[in-house]
């Protein structure tokens, strides 16, 4: 799979916040049709790396290649335009409006004709398309007209994932998508991740949960102190090896496994 060109590649990314060097020359790559887990101890720079890739805070130096070409992503809007979506850890849902309204937030479908030009929403079309998208991903929502505030943690996670997947054409970033979920809900989210990969997208999964990573990830990239220190395949290594790489107890050749 990795013989091909990476869909998304970051080279020598440096990002500082004041005197803190969060990323000290980090590399990263993601290929289409794979789940790549981005792991590392707290403070290793995982979230910072993702935020530089999706335009929340652009890097100080380094380059980002998308489909082999260098891109400059300075706003989340630009990341979305090239087909990258993010499931944020806080989900970024507006709780007082319904799931369809959240799905189409910023991308509302308007009615046809003069009413549409006045900004009238086609609520039925948005609800219908949302329900289809939820059922495609196996997200079960009984009352799609109720505000998100009425829904369980698993349902909210499902809505956020469905929204990202619906609009992403290339890459979906998921920041700790199962952190707040119970056993059954976690299982649903993992199934959703696999379905997204099977649609041909690249899924970048940030997680602390190694059993979960070994279940869904095709590759693992390990960050430590702001740099990539290992690229591993779950099939080739043990969880202890991954932990060792995260803590620096064991060093891998950086390009191993590629």
């Amino acid at each position: 799979m990795n013989a091909q060109q990476p869909l998304l590649e970051a080279r020598k990314i440096v990002k500082s916040f004041g005197s803190v060097r969060a990323l000290t020359g980090a590399n990263f790559s993601a290929y289409e049709g794979e789940v790549v887990a981005l792991v590392g101890d707290n403070g290793a720079g995982k979230s910072t790396l993702v935020k530089t890739l999706v335009g929340v805070h652009p890097p100080d130096s380094g380059e980002i290649l998308f489909e082999g070409r260098e891109v400059h992503i300075h706003t989340p809007q630009q990341a979305r335009e090239i087909g990258m979506e993010t499931v944020y850890q806080d989900l970024a849902l507006a709780e007082e409006i319904d799931p369809a309204a959240n799905m189409f937030l910023g991308r509302e479908i308007l009615r046809g004709g003069p009413l549409g030009r006045l900004g009238f929403l086609d609520k039925a079309a948005m609800r219908h398309r949302s329900e289809e998208a939820f059922s495609d991903l196996g997200v079960r929502i009984q009352d799609t007209a109720a505000p998100v505030a009425h829904m369980s943690g698993g349902q909210r996670q499902g809505i956020a994932i469905t929204r990202a997947v619906t609009w992403a054409s290339k890459v979906v970033f998921m920041d700790e998508p199962t952190a707040a979920l119970g056993v059954v809900q976690t299982r649903n989210v993992l199934d959703q991740i696999k379905r997204v990969r099977d649609q041909g997208l690249a899924v970048v999964l940030i997680s602390h949960n190694l059993p979960e990573i070994f279940e869904v990830a095709d590759r693992i990239e390990v960050l430590r102190l702001g740099e990539r220190v290992a690229r591993l395949r779950p099939s080739d290594v043990s969880m202890e090896d991954v932990v060792a790489a995260m803590t620096g107890a064991l060093t891998f050749h950086e390009e191993e496994g590629s």
Binding site: Y88, A92, A94, E96, L105, R107
Partner: protein, 319 residues
């Protein structure tokens, strides 16, 4: 249907109906007299226009304390412009209307820009513009009410009616209906709710939140300008000293009508009910012979109860 029956604007509507029934049982003749109903509605018309703007602002989780002062300022500007032009023609009155709307819009832009771009809390921005607008109104007039306005403004528009309904009430209802539909059915309304619900999420989805907030505060300013002109038509004078509590009355009406001060929840229909509850109470108390001061006590209690119910509803949702 279930949502319609259990929605907070329905509950508040039932309370309003209940009040009307009680007062008409106590004194049917006078309470249901046409003149009295017309009185209640005219009292409420100016407040309704302010409260519609306040609903938008509060749904974004903001607040606008300046509406009463902007009303006064706009009325003063309109009166000065019309008297400056002189004459009683329709043209002069229309220029006055435009001046009033423009004055209100300018304050709204000022508020919106400072809230959205300078990130100053809305409470402080609009407290500041309250003082500035009122001070400016006094400066323009030298502290004395402008007592002259073109006569037809008062005689035709101020006290005129069609089919027994005062023009002022029709204007207020038209504003409420149009902006009620906009809030419920359009993308503008959707962003208003979404920003009040989770501003950061709306930002991340690529919507220009700052621009939307400026539009919402501008709308509130524009409506204050309209209310200023209506006030001028009703009283024929600028009533500078008479609007110190308009902002609180508007906010109370919005909140009684089920709009949440935390943003994201509210309807214009609820606000219409919320405007009429204090008006009906005041009138009802007068008619049944209870001291009118009790109205203030009752409205205060209703206000606290409305916010308490909102808190309970939110706490239940969060579980």
């Amino acid at each position: 249907m279930k949502r319609l029956l259990t929605g907070s604007s329905t509950q508040i509507g039932l309370i309003l109906v209940g009040l009307i029934v009680i007062f008409s049982l106590l004194s049917f003749e006078s309470f249901f007299a046409v003149a009295n109903a017309r009185n209640i509605a005219t009292d409420a018309a100016v407040l309704l226009v302010l409260a519609v703007g306040a609903t938008y602002v509060i749904v974004t989780a903001g607040i606008d304390l300046s509406v009463g002062a902007v009303l006064v300022f706009s009325g003063v500007v309109a009166a000065k412009v019309m008297n400056g032009l002189g004459g009683e023609s329709l043209g002069v009155i229309l220029v006055g209307l435009v001046a009033s709307l423009a004055a209100g819009l300018a304050w709204g832009l000022f508020n919106g820009f400072l809230v959205a771009k300078a990130k100053i809390p809305a409470f402080i921005v609009t407290l500041g513009s309250l003082g500035m607008a009122l001070g400016a109104a006094y400066l323009i007039t030298g502290g004395v009410d402008e007592r002259e306005v073109p006569f037809p403004l008062v005689s035709k528009f101020g006290i005129g009616r069609v089919l027994g309904i005062p023009y002022l009430v029709l204007v207020a209802l038209a504003v409420a209906i149009v902006l009620g539909i906009v809030l419920a059915q359009t993308r503008f309304g959707r962003y208003t709710y979404a920003i009040g619900s989770n501003e950061e999420a709306v930002r991340r989805s690529g919507v220009n939140v700052d621009r939307h907030l400026i539009k919402v505060y501008s709308l509130a300013g524009l409506l204050s300008g309209l209310a200023g002109f209506m006030n001028l038509a009703r009283f024929g004078t600028t009533t500078i000293g008479g609007h110190a509590t308009d902002n609180l009355n508007a906010i109370a009406a919005v909140v009684i009508g089920g709009t949440s001060l935390f943003g994201g929840i509210g309807t214009i229909l609820g606000t219409v009910f919320g405007v009429f509850i204090p008006a009906v109470l005041q009138n009802g108390f007068v008619i049944v012979g209870v001291q009118a001061f009790w109205q203030q006590v009752a409205v205060g209690a209703v206000l606290i109860a409305a916010v308490y119910l909102d808190q309970v509803r939110r706490a239940r949702q969060r579980q």
